[in-house]
Symmetry: C2
Subunit: 406 residues, 2 copies
C-alpha cells in the first residue's frame, strides 16, 4: 500500500465530464489499495474570469479582496469532485484552504505556505476517505483567505504530499511528461523516464511550463518524489527524483528555451566602483528582475559595455528607469532588443564532464548562429541568440547531445 | 446618526456596472453621516448555474458539498463590492459567513442562524468601515460552510441588523415597495407607505415575492424595522413596522394571490374518529405540505367529503400517497384539480371590524365567481377559486375594499 497525492490542473477539471474522468482516475488508485489525497486547480479559464472581474472594479487593488474572490474557483471544483467520487462509491469530502488549514504568511496574492495541519486528513485517509483539497489557497494570520500566486496549486500539492509523508505526488496535466525539448519544435524529442530535481528546477525556470519552479524547489527540499503525467492518457509519466535514484545519468537531459527575454545594453559605462549598484539598485526598486548579466572587459580602463536581460513585460519599465537615472550611472548610449531567445542546455552530467559548453558553442557556430550573451551554472549553460534561430538551434543542439529519439 | 444594514439582491448585483451602482448607494448613506453594513446575494443566475453543476455530478446529494459550492456566489460579489467601495474612497472589507461568523445549526442547505458574533464588525463600523457581508451562508458546528436555503440573504440581513442593533434594515430589490396588489394585474394598485409585520408575513406566505417569510418572521421577533425599496430608483419604499407605528390603520392592506395551488377532494370518506389522521399522516410522511382543509358536514352521519390544497409540485406525490393508502382511509373517489388560485384579503384592521369576509364573498358572488374553499385567520381571509377568474377577482376586490389609487 502506498500513499499518493494526486494533483489535477485546470484543463483536467475544465468541465463536468472531465471532473468525472478525474474521479475515475482517483478510484483506480484507491482500487489498487492505495491511500489517496487529491489537490485541484480551478476550471481552466475560471481564474482569468475572476481576475477580470476584480480588475473591472476600479483602480485600487486590495490583494485581500482579490484573494477571496479568485479562491472561489477551487472551491467549486473540489465540491464537484467530492460529489463525483461519492457517486462512484468512494468516500470523499472537500477541504478548503482554511479548513485543512494551510497556514500561510500575510503576503496576499503571493503567499507562502508556512505550516499544514494534516492530523485530521491523515486520520481520515487511514479509514479510506479521500480528502479533496483546494490548491492555490490558504489562510493568513489575519484569518483571511490567501492565494499562492498563479500556478500555486502545484506547490499546494507538493507541500501537502510532504506533510502527509506521501510516497509520491502525481501531477496530472495536459502533457504526458517532461521531454528532452519542446516536442512541438523538436519532433525527435523524447519523454524522459526520470529527471533530477536540480534539472527540473532549471528546466522550469528556463521556460519549460510543465511544473512551477516553487513546487520543484519544495519537492527538492523535502525529497518528495514527484511524477508528471497526463490526465487524458493512461501511461506512466516522468519521475522527478533525487540524483541517486538515477543510475544511468545522461550528460545532458534537455534543451530548454524561453522567448520571454529582452536584452538591454549600456554602451560605454564608466568603469568605476559602485557603477553596478547605480544600475541595478534603481532597477530592483522598480521591481525589474534582471537575469543574465555580462560586463565586457574595459579596453582603455575607463569605460565598459554592460549587457543584461529582463523579461519582455519589464522591458519598458527598465528602460524608463535607466533613462531617469542616466546622470548617476553615466553611460553613452542605451540599446534594447526584444527579438532574442534564451537557449539552455541542462544536465547534472556536466558536473563531471568537461566540454559540454564547448559542444554547444561549436554546434551553434556551425549553423552560423551568433551568441550574444552567455551564462553558466553548475548544471546548465544558457546563451542568448537572435529569436529567428530558435528552432534551428534547438534541433541542432538536440542532435549534437545525442538526445534524438531512435 | 443612524446605523443601517443595506441588503442588495441578485439583480441589484447582476454585473460589474450594477455593483458599482450599489457602491454609490452605500456611499450616499455614509455621506449622510450613517454607519452602514451591507449584505449581498450572488449575481442573478449564478446560484442557479452552481446548483446546475452540482446536479450534474451524479445521483448522490451531499448537502455539505452543495453548500460549499453554491456559497461561492456571494463570496465573489462581496469581494467586488468591497473593491468598488474602496475605489470611491470608502473604507470597506468583505466578510464571509465563517469569518463574521454566522453560527448556524448543521442542517446543510436549509440551515438556521443560531448566533452572530458582531463585536468585531461593531467596532469597525464605529470607525467608519463598511462591512460587506455574504448573505445566505454561515458556518455549522462541523466547521463547514452552511447555506440558509434559497432567498436566505434576506434572513441574513435581518439577523445581522438585529445583532448590530441597527435602526433600519433596507432590503433593496427590483420592485420599489409593497403594493396593495400585484401592479402587473391591478393597474390601480398603490404602493404602501407602511405595513405591519403580521400583514407582510401573510402577504409573503400568500405569494407576494417581495420578502422571504423567514426574514419577516425574524424581523417581527426582534422588532427590527425593515424597508423594502428599489435599487434602481432613488425614492422611499415601504416600511415594515410594528402595528403601533401605524396611526391610520386601513381595514385591508392588500389583496394577494397564489397560483401555485392544487385541490384534492376525497369523496364519501367514512366519517369516523381517526380518519383525518389516516389521511394527513401518510401525506406528512411523504413531505407533502397541506394548506387549506375543509370538511363538509356529514349528511347521513356516515360519510363526508374532504377537500384540501397542496402546492402544484406536491400534487402528484400527494395523489399517489393517498391511492396507496386508500384501504386504510376508505374513500369512494379522489378528484384533483390544479386549475385553482388562492386569493387572500389581508389586513390587521379586520381584527376590530366585522363584515370584511362578508364583503369578499359578496363581491365575488356579484361577479359570478364560485368559491370552492374558504379559510380564515385573525388578519386574513383566503378563498380558492377557478384560476381563470384570477384577474377579475383581484380587480373587483381591490375596488371593493377602497384600495384603488385616486
Amino acid at each position: 500500500m502506498a500513499r499518493i497525492v494526486q494533483k489535477f490542473g485546470g484543463t483536467s477539471v475544465g468541465d463536468v465530464e472531465r471532473i468525472k474522468n478525474v474521479a475515475l482516475k482517483v478510484k483506480a488508485e484507491i482500487d489498487r489499495g492505495n491511500e489517496v489525497a487529491v489537490v485541484l486547480s480551478a476550471m481552466s479559464g475560471e481564474t482569468n474570469r475572476l481576475v477580470g472581474l476584480v480588475n473591472q472594479m476600479g483602480s485600487l487593488y486590495d490583494a485581500r479582496e482579490y484573494d477571496s474572490v479568485v479562491a472561489t474557483g477551487e472551491q467549486i471544483t473540489i465540491g464537484l469532485l467530492a460529489l463525483a467520487l461519492q457517486d462512484l462509491g468512494v468516500s470523499a469530502r472537500s477541504w478548503l484552504g482554511w479548513q485543512v488549514p494551510f497556514h500561510t504568511d500575510d503576503v496576499h496574492a503571493k503567499a507562502r505556505i508556512q505550516k499544514i495541519d494534516v492530523d485530521e486528513l491523515d486520520k481520515r485517509m487511514k479509514t479510506g476517505e479521500v480528502p479533496v483539497v483546494a490548491g492555490f489557497q490558504g489562510i493568513g494570520p489575519d484569518n483571511r483567505i490567501t492565494t499562492l500566486g498563479r500556478g500555486g496549486s502545484d506547490t499546494s500539492a507538493v507541500a501537502l504530499a510532504a506533510a502527509l509523508g506521501a510516497d509520491r505526488c502525481d501531477i496530472y496535466t495536459d502533457v504526458d511528461g517532461v521531454y528532452t525539448s519542446d516536442p512541438r519544435i523538436v519532433t525527435k524529442a523524447r519523454k524522459l523516464e526520470k529527471i533530477t530535481y536540480e534539472e527540473m528546477l532549471e528546466m522550469a525556470s528556463l521556460g519549460a511550463k510543465v511544473l512551477q519552479t516553487r513546487a520543484v524547489e519544495m519537492a527538492m527540499k523535502h525529497g518528495q518524489r514527484l511524477q508528471v503525467l497526463s490526465s487524458f492518457e493512461d501511461k506512466p509519466g516522468t519521475l522527478v527524483v533525487d540524483e541517486e535514484e538515477i543510475v544511468e545519468k545522461e550528460l545532458v537531459s534537455g534543451i530548454a528555451y524561453s522567448r520571454d527575454e529582452a536584452k538591454i545594453t549600456l554602451v560605454r559605462v564608466s568603469d568605476k566602483p559602485g557603477v553596478a549598484a547605480a544600475i541595478f539598485g534603481p532597477l530592483s526598486d522598480a521591481s525589474v528582475n534582471v537575469d543574465m548579466i555580462v560586463q565586457n572587459e574595459s579596453v582603455a580602463g575607463k569605460a565598459t559595455d554592460l549587457t543584461f536581460t529582463v523579461t519582455q513585460a519589464d522591458l519598458e519599465r527598465a528602460v524608463k528607469t535607466l533613462e531617469k537615472h542616466s546622470d548617476d550611472i553615466g553611460y553613452e548610449k542605451l540599446h534594447s532588443d526584444a527579438n532574442v531567445v534564451k537557449i539552455s542546455v541542462v544536465g547534472v552530467g556536466m558536473r563531471s564532464h568537461a566540454g559540454v559548453a564547448q559542444r554547444m558553442f561549436a554546434t551553434l557556430a556551425e549553423k552560423g548562429i551568433n551568441i550574444q550573451v552567455i551564462s553558466t551554472s553548475e548544471i546548465k549553460v544558457s546563451v542568448l541568440i537572435d529569436e529567428e534561430y530558435t528552432e534551428l538551434a534547438l534541433r541542432a543542439l538536440h542532435t549534437a547531445y545525442g538526445l534524438d529519439a531512435a
